[in-house]
Protein backbone atom coordinates (compact mmCIF):
# COMPACT_ATOMS: atom_id res chain seq x y z
CA UNK A 1 0.00 0.00 0.00
CA UNK A 2 1.09 3.50 -0.82
CA UNK A 3 2.22 5.34 2.32
CA UNK A 4 0.96 8.68 1.01
CA UNK A 5 -2.53 7.35 1.66
CA UNK A 6 -1.68 7.04 5.32
CA UNK A 7 -1.13 10.63 6.40
CA UNK A 8 -4.55 11.98 5.45
CA UNK A 9 -6.14 9.37 7.72
CA UNK A 10 -3.80 9.98 10.64
CA UNK A 11 -4.20 13.75 10.36
CA UNK A 12 -7.96 13.41 10.11
CA UNK A 13 -8.10 11.04 13.09
CA UNK A 14 -5.92 13.29 15.23
CA UNK A 15 -7.96 16.38 14.39
CA UNK A 16 -11.34 14.76 14.80
CA UNK A 17 -10.40 13.15 18.11
CA UNK A 18 -9.04 16.48 19.31
CA UNK A 19 -12.17 18.35 18.26
CA UNK A 20 -14.74 15.81 19.41
CA UNK A 21 -13.29 14.48 22.64
CA UNK A 22 -10.32 16.84 23.23
CA UNK A 23 -8.00 13.86 23.02
CA UNK A 24 -4.24 14.18 23.06
CA UNK A 25 -3.22 11.66 20.44
CA UNK A 26 0.13 9.90 20.32
CA UNK A 27 0.90 7.83 17.26
CA UNK A 28 2.40 4.41 17.90
CA UNK A 29 4.62 2.38 15.58
CA UNK A 30 3.29 1.82 12.10
CA UNK A 31 3.33 -1.76 10.90
CA UNK A 32 2.41 -3.52 7.68
CA UNK A 33 0.41 -6.73 7.98
CA UNK A 34 -0.43 -9.22 5.31
CA UNK A 35 -2.39 -11.66 7.45
CA UNK A 36 -6.00 -11.19 8.41
CA UNK A 37 -6.96 -8.91 11.22
CA UNK A 38 -8.22 -10.50 14.40
CA UNK A 39 -11.05 -8.32 15.60
CA UNK A 40 -10.99 -6.42 18.87
CA UNK A 41 -14.20 -5.80 20.88
CA UNK A 42 -15.52 -3.36 18.33
CA UNK A 43 -14.47 -2.73 14.74
CA UNK A 44 -15.95 -0.06 12.49
CA UNK A 45 -15.54 -0.95 8.84
CA UNK A 46 -15.86 1.66 6.10
CA UNK A 47 -15.21 1.07 2.42
CA UNK A 48 -13.76 3.60 0.01
CA UNK A 49 -14.83 3.63 -3.62
CA UNK A 50 -13.24 5.78 -6.30
CA UNK A 51 -9.70 6.89 -7.13
CA UNK A 52 -8.58 5.56 -3.77
CA UNK A 53 -10.36 2.33 -2.97
CA UNK A 54 -10.30 -0.36 -0.34
CA UNK A 55 -11.32 -0.57 3.27
CA UNK A 56 -10.56 1.27 6.50
CA UNK A 57 -11.16 -0.31 9.86
CA UNK A 58 -11.11 1.28 13.29
CA UNK A 59 -10.59 -1.25 16.03
CA UNK A 60 -10.85 -0.56 19.74
CA UNK A 61 -11.40 -2.07 23.11
CA UNK A 62 -14.83 -1.93 24.72
CA UNK A 63 -13.77 0.40 27.55
CA UNK A 64 -12.06 2.76 25.10
CA UNK A 65 -15.14 2.80 22.94
CA UNK A 66 -17.43 3.50 25.91
CA UNK A 67 -15.20 6.37 27.10
CA UNK A 68 -15.10 7.91 23.63
CA UNK A 69 -18.80 7.55 22.99
CA UNK A 70 -19.76 8.86 26.44
CA UNK A 71 -17.65 11.94 25.79
CA UNK A 72 -18.99 12.51 22.26
CA UNK A 73 -22.65 12.03 23.10
CA UNK A 74 -22.45 13.71 26.50
CA UNK A 75 -24.07 10.84 28.38
CA UNK A 76 -22.61 7.93 30.27
CA UNK A 77 -22.57 4.58 28.45
CA UNK A 78 -21.85 1.38 30.34
CA UNK A 79 -22.53 -1.07 27.55
CA UNK A 80 -22.09 -1.23 23.81
CA UNK A 81 -25.75 -0.76 22.98
CA UNK A 82 -26.97 0.31 19.57
CA UNK A 83 -26.72 4.02 20.41
CA UNK A 84 -23.11 3.60 21.53
CA UNK A 85 -22.34 1.61 18.38
CA UNK A 86 -23.90 4.25 16.22
CA UNK A 87 -21.84 6.94 17.97
CA UNK A 88 -18.67 5.00 17.26
CA UNK A 89 -19.73 4.41 13.65
CA UNK A 90 -20.28 8.14 13.29
CA UNK A 91 -16.80 8.86 14.59
CA UNK A 92 -15.36 6.49 11.97
CA UNK A 93 -17.53 8.17 9.38
CA UNK A 94 -16.31 11.66 10.23
CA UNK A 95 -12.64 10.62 10.29
CA UNK A 96 -12.96 8.80 6.95
CA UNK A 97 -14.93 11.68 5.45
CA UNK A 98 -12.27 14.18 6.50
CA UNK A 99 -9.56 11.93 5.10
CA UNK A 100 -11.28 11.73 1.72
CA UNK A 101 -11.55 15.52 1.65
CA UNK A 102 -7.78 15.59 2.05
CA UNK A 103 -7.47 13.07 -0.77
CA UNK A 104 -9.63 15.24 -2.99
CA UNK A 105 -7.29 18.17 -2.33
CA UNK A 106 -4.47 16.08 -3.80
CA UNK A 107 -6.58 15.11 -6.81
CA UNK A 108 -8.03 11.79 -5.71
CA UNK A 109 -11.79 11.64 -5.53
CA UNK A 110 -13.28 8.90 -3.38
CA UNK A 111 -16.59 8.22 -1.76
CA UNK A 112 -17.07 6.42 1.50
CA UNK A 113 -19.63 3.75 2.23
CA UNK A 114 -22.01 3.60 5.15
CA UNK A 115 -20.24 2.15 8.19
CA UNK A 116 -20.63 -1.44 9.33
CA UNK A 117 -20.01 -2.20 12.99
CA UNK A 118 -18.59 -5.55 14.01
CA UNK A 119 -18.71 -6.45 17.68
CA UNK A 120 -17.21 -9.57 19.16
CA UNK A 121 -13.61 -10.40 19.79
CA UNK A 122 -11.54 -12.92 17.90
CA UNK A 123 -13.13 -13.27 14.48
CA UNK A 124 -10.86 -12.85 11.49
CA UNK A 125 -11.35 -10.05 9.01
CA UNK A 126 -9.52 -10.66 5.78
CA UNK A 127 -8.85 -7.96 3.21
CA UNK A 128 -7.57 -10.72 0.88
CA UNK A 129 -4.65 -9.55 -1.23
CA UNK A 130 -4.68 -6.02 0.20
CA UNK A 131 -1.94 -5.67 2.81
CA UNK A 132 -2.92 -3.51 5.76
CA UNK A 133 -1.08 -0.59 7.30
CA UNK A 134 -1.77 -0.60 11.01
CA UNK A 135 -1.46 2.56 13.08
CA UNK A 136 -2.23 2.58 16.79
CA UNK A 137 -3.35 5.97 18.09
CA UNK A 138 -3.08 6.31 21.84
CA UNK A 139 -5.32 8.77 23.67
CA UNK A 140 -6.11 9.28 27.34
CA UNK A 141 -9.21 7.14 26.72
CA UNK A 142 -7.27 4.17 25.37
CA UNK A 143 -5.99 3.01 22.01
CA UNK A 144 -7.78 3.40 18.69
CA UNK A 145 -6.16 1.26 16.01
CA UNK A 146 -6.56 2.36 12.41
CA UNK A 147 -6.19 -0.34 9.74
CA UNK A 148 -5.85 0.85 6.16
CA UNK A 149 -6.08 -1.50 3.19
CA UNK A 150 -6.20 0.99 0.34
CA UNK A 151 -5.05 1.29 -3.22
CA UNK A 152 -4.88 4.01 -5.80
CA UNK A 153 -6.71 3.28 -9.01
CA UNK A 154 -4.25 3.35 -11.89
CA UNK A 155 -5.04 5.77 -14.71
CA UNK A 156 -7.31 4.15 -17.25
CA UNK A 157 -8.15 1.28 -14.96
CA UNK A 158 -11.90 1.13 -14.62
CA UNK A 159 -13.23 0.36 -11.19
CA UNK A 160 -16.40 -1.10 -12.49
CA UNK A 161 -17.92 -4.46 -11.76
CA UNK A 162 -16.83 -5.67 -15.22
CA UNK A 163 -13.27 -6.21 -14.13
CA UNK A 164 -14.28 -8.87 -11.65
CA UNK A 165 -16.27 -11.01 -13.99
CA UNK A 166 -13.41 -12.48 -15.98
CA UNK A 167 -12.45 -14.95 -13.26
CA UNK A 168 -15.76 -16.68 -13.10
CA UNK A 169 -17.80 -17.34 -16.19
CA UNK A 170 -20.88 -15.30 -15.49
CA UNK A 171 -23.92 -15.42 -17.75
CA UNK A 172 -24.18 -12.46 -20.15
CA UNK A 173 -26.42 -9.62 -19.06
CA UNK A 174 -29.53 -9.06 -21.07
CA UNK A 175 -29.19 -5.53 -22.34
CA UNK A 176 -32.18 -3.26 -21.94
CA UNK A 177 -34.24 -5.81 -20.06
Amino acid sequence: MDVKLLNPFIQAAVEVLKAEVSAEVTRGDISMQKSSLTSDDITVLINLVGDVYGVVMYGLHKTTCLHLVSKIMGQEFTELNSLAQSGMAELGNVISGQATIRFSETGYTSNISTPTVLTGKGVEISTLDFPRIVVPLTTQYGVLTVHLALRVKKPGEPHTPDEFISLITAPPLKKGS
Binding site: E15, V16, K18, A19, S36, S39, L45, N47, L48, V49, G50, Y53, G54, V55, S82, Q85, S86, A89, V94, G97, Q98, T100, I101, S104, T109, S110, N111, I112, S113, T114, P115, T116, V117, L118, T119, G120, K121, G122, V123, E124, I125, S126, T127, L128, D129, F130, T160, P161, D162, F164, I165, L167, I168, T169, A170, P171, L173, K175, G176, S177
Partner: protein
Protein backbone atom coordinates in the same frame (compact mmCIF):
# COMPACT_ATOMS: atom_id res chain seq x y z
CA UNK B 1 -35.63 -1.15 2.60
CA UNK B 2 -36.84 -0.74 -0.90
CA UNK B 3 -37.84 -4.17 -2.21
CA UNK B 4 -37.02 -3.25 -5.80
CA UNK B 5 -33.34 -3.53 -4.82
CA UNK B 6 -33.88 -7.16 -3.92
CA UNK B 7 -34.54 -8.79 -7.26
CA UNK B 8 -31.28 -7.80 -8.97
CA UNK B 9 -29.35 -9.50 -6.16
CA UNK B 10 -31.46 -12.61 -5.95
CA UNK B 11 -31.53 -12.84 -9.76
CA UNK B 12 -27.77 -12.50 -10.11
CA UNK B 13 -27.04 -14.94 -7.30
CA UNK B 14 -29.49 -17.40 -8.81
CA UNK B 15 -28.02 -17.08 -12.32
CA UNK B 16 -24.41 -17.34 -11.22
CA UNK B 17 -24.88 -20.18 -8.73
CA UNK B 18 -27.09 -22.17 -11.10
CA UNK B 19 -24.55 -21.77 -13.88
CA UNK B 20 -21.52 -22.62 -11.77
CA UNK B 21 -23.08 -25.52 -9.91
CA UNK B 22 -25.04 -26.83 -12.90
CA UNK B 23 -28.14 -27.33 -10.79
CA UNK B 24 -31.32 -25.48 -9.99
CA UNK B 25 -31.06 -23.66 -6.71
CA UNK B 26 -34.02 -22.88 -4.48
CA UNK B 27 -34.95 -19.63 -2.84
CA UNK B 28 -36.21 -19.65 0.75
CA UNK B 29 -38.62 -17.26 2.43
CA UNK B 30 -37.71 -13.59 2.66
CA UNK B 31 -37.63 -11.91 5.99
CA UNK B 32 -36.88 -8.46 7.35
CA UNK B 33 -34.62 -8.16 10.37
CA UNK B 34 -34.09 -4.98 12.40
CA UNK B 35 -31.56 -6.48 14.77
CA UNK B 36 -27.88 -7.11 14.32
CA UNK B 37 -26.61 -10.11 12.41
CA UNK B 38 -24.77 -12.88 14.24
CA UNK B 39 -22.08 -14.13 11.89
CA UNK B 40 -21.96 -17.58 10.38
CA UNK B 41 -18.56 -19.21 9.69
CA UNK B 42 -17.87 -17.12 6.61
CA UNK B 43 -19.30 -13.71 5.65
CA UNK B 44 -18.44 -11.60 2.63
CA UNK B 45 -19.11 -7.89 3.10
CA UNK B 46 -19.43 -5.56 0.12
CA UNK B 47 -20.65 -1.97 0.21
CA UNK B 48 -22.55 -0.06 -2.43
CA UNK B 49 -21.99 3.65 -2.80
CA UNK B 50 -24.03 5.86 -5.08
CA UNK B 51 -27.71 5.97 -5.98
CA UNK B 52 -28.04 2.85 -3.83
CA UNK B 53 -26.21 3.02 -0.52
CA UNK B 54 -25.50 0.36 2.04
CA UNK B 55 -24.02 -3.08 2.49
CA UNK B 56 -24.57 -6.59 1.23
CA UNK B 57 -23.48 -9.67 3.19
CA UNK B 58 -23.21 -13.20 1.86
CA UNK B 59 -23.02 -15.68 4.70
CA UNK B 60 -22.49 -19.42 4.72
CA UNK B 61 -21.08 -22.26 6.76
CA UNK B 62 -17.48 -23.35 6.35
CA UNK B 63 -18.51 -26.54 4.53
CA UNK B 64 -20.53 -24.58 1.98
CA UNK B 65 -17.67 -22.10 1.52
CA UNK B 66 -15.11 -24.86 0.92
CA UNK B 67 -17.50 -26.69 -1.42
CA UNK B 68 -18.34 -23.57 -3.40
CA UNK B 69 -14.69 -22.54 -3.67
CA UNK B 70 -13.84 -26.02 -4.99
CA UNK B 71 -16.51 -25.73 -7.69
CA UNK B 72 -15.65 -22.15 -8.65
CA UNK B 73 -11.90 -22.63 -8.83
CA UNK B 74 -12.02 -26.14 -10.28
CA UNK B 75 -9.79 -27.70 -7.65
CA UNK B 76 -10.58 -29.61 -4.49
CA UNK B 77 -10.08 -27.60 -1.29
CA UNK B 78 -9.91 -29.34 2.07
CA UNK B 79 -9.78 -26.18 4.18
CA UNK B 80 -10.70 -22.55 3.79
CA UNK B 81 -7.19 -21.39 2.92
CA UNK B 82 -6.28 -18.05 1.35
CA UNK B 83 -7.06 -19.16 -2.18
CA UNK B 84 -10.43 -20.61 -1.18
CA UNK B 85 -11.19 -17.39 0.70
CA UNK B 86 -10.41 -15.32 -2.34
CA UNK B 87 -12.69 -17.57 -4.41
CA UNK B 88 -15.57 -16.91 -2.03
CA UNK B 89 -14.86 -13.17 -1.99
CA UNK B 90 -14.81 -13.26 -5.78
CA UNK B 91 -18.21 -14.94 -5.83
CA UNK B 92 -19.59 -12.11 -3.69
CA UNK B 93 -17.95 -9.65 -6.03
CA UNK B 94 -19.42 -11.18 -9.15
CA UNK B 95 -22.94 -11.42 -7.73
CA UNK B 96 -22.80 -7.84 -6.43
CA UNK B 97 -21.24 -6.60 -9.66
CA UNK B 98 -24.00 -8.13 -11.79
CA UNK B 99 -26.65 -6.83 -9.42
CA UNK B 100 -25.21 -3.33 -9.58
CA UNK B 101 -25.31 -3.46 -13.38
CA UNK B 102 -28.96 -4.43 -13.23
CA UNK B 103 -29.59 -1.60 -10.77
CA UNK B 104 -27.77 0.80 -13.11
CA UNK B 105 -30.04 -0.28 -15.96
CA UNK B 106 -32.99 0.57 -13.72
CA UNK B 107 -31.50 4.04 -13.18
CA UNK B 108 -29.65 3.45 -9.91
CA UNK B 109 -25.98 3.90 -10.67
CA UNK B 110 -23.73 2.67 -7.86
CA UNK B 111 -20.15 1.65 -7.30
CA UNK B 112 -19.30 -1.46 -5.38
CA UNK B 113 -16.44 -1.72 -2.92
CA UNK B 114 -13.77 -4.37 -2.66
CA UNK B 115 -14.94 -7.34 -0.60
CA UNK B 116 -13.91 -8.02 2.99
CA UNK B 117 -14.21 -11.46 4.45
CA UNK B 118 -15.18 -12.19 8.04
CA UNK B 119 -14.23 -15.60 9.27
CA UNK B 120 -15.51 -16.78 12.62
CA UNK B 121 -18.86 -17.58 14.09
CA UNK B 122 -20.76 -15.56 16.64
CA UNK B 123 -19.55 -12.00 16.15
CA UNK B 124 -22.24 -9.39 15.70
CA UNK B 125 -22.45 -7.17 12.66
CA UNK B 126 -24.66 -4.14 12.87
CA UNK B 127 -25.78 -2.05 9.95
CA UNK B 128 -27.12 0.49 12.47
CA UNK B 129 -30.40 2.01 11.37
CA UNK B 130 -30.52 0.00 8.13
CA UNK B 131 -32.91 -2.95 8.43
CA UNK B 132 -31.73 -6.07 6.63
CA UNK B 133 -33.67 -8.04 4.09
CA UNK B 134 -32.64 -11.68 4.33
CA UNK B 135 -32.90 -14.20 1.50
CA UNK B 136 -31.68 -17.78 1.95
CA UNK B 137 -30.66 -19.69 -1.18
CA UNK B 138 -30.45 -23.47 -1.02
CA UNK B 139 -27.97 -25.48 -3.06
CA UNK B 140 -26.96 -29.13 -2.94
CA UNK B 141 -23.97 -28.08 -0.79
CA UNK B 142 -26.06 -26.24 1.77
CA UNK B 143 -27.45 -22.76 2.12
CA UNK B 144 -26.02 -19.36 1.26
CA UNK B 145 -27.80 -16.38 2.77
CA UNK B 146 -27.92 -12.92 1.25
CA UNK B 147 -28.41 -9.98 3.61
CA UNK B 148 -29.28 -6.65 2.03
CA UNK B 149 -29.09 -3.43 4.01
CA UNK B 150 -29.63 -0.91 1.26
CA UNK B 151 -31.43 2.33 0.72
CA UNK B 152 -31.70 4.98 -1.93
CA UNK B 153 -28.58 7.13 -1.75
CA UNK B 154 -29.13 10.47 -0.10
CA UNK B 155 -26.32 12.17 -1.95
CA UNK B 156 -26.46 10.17 -5.12
CA UNK B 157 -24.64 12.70 -7.24
CA UNK B 158 -22.50 14.32 -4.57
CA UNK B 159 -18.86 13.51 -4.12
CA UNK B 160 -17.76 13.03 -0.52
CA UNK B 161 -15.75 16.22 -0.78
CA UNK B 162 -18.95 18.15 -1.36
CA UNK B 163 -20.71 16.82 1.71
CA UNK B 164 -20.60 19.26 4.59
CA UNK B 165 -18.75 18.02 7.62
CA UNK B 166 -18.86 19.98 10.88
CA UNK B 167 -16.06 22.51 11.13
CA UNK B 168 -13.14 21.24 13.15
CA UNK B 169 -11.79 23.66 15.75
CA UNK B 170 -8.10 23.70 16.55
Amino acid sequence: MNVKFLNPFVGSAYDILSLEMKETIQRGDLRLDNGAYKTDDVTVIISLVGAVDGSVFYSMSKEVAVGLASILMGEKFEALDRLAQSGIAELGNVITGQASMKLAEAGYESNISTPSLIIGKGATISTLEFPRLIVPLFTSLGSLTIHLALREGLQSNLKTSQIKIPKVEF
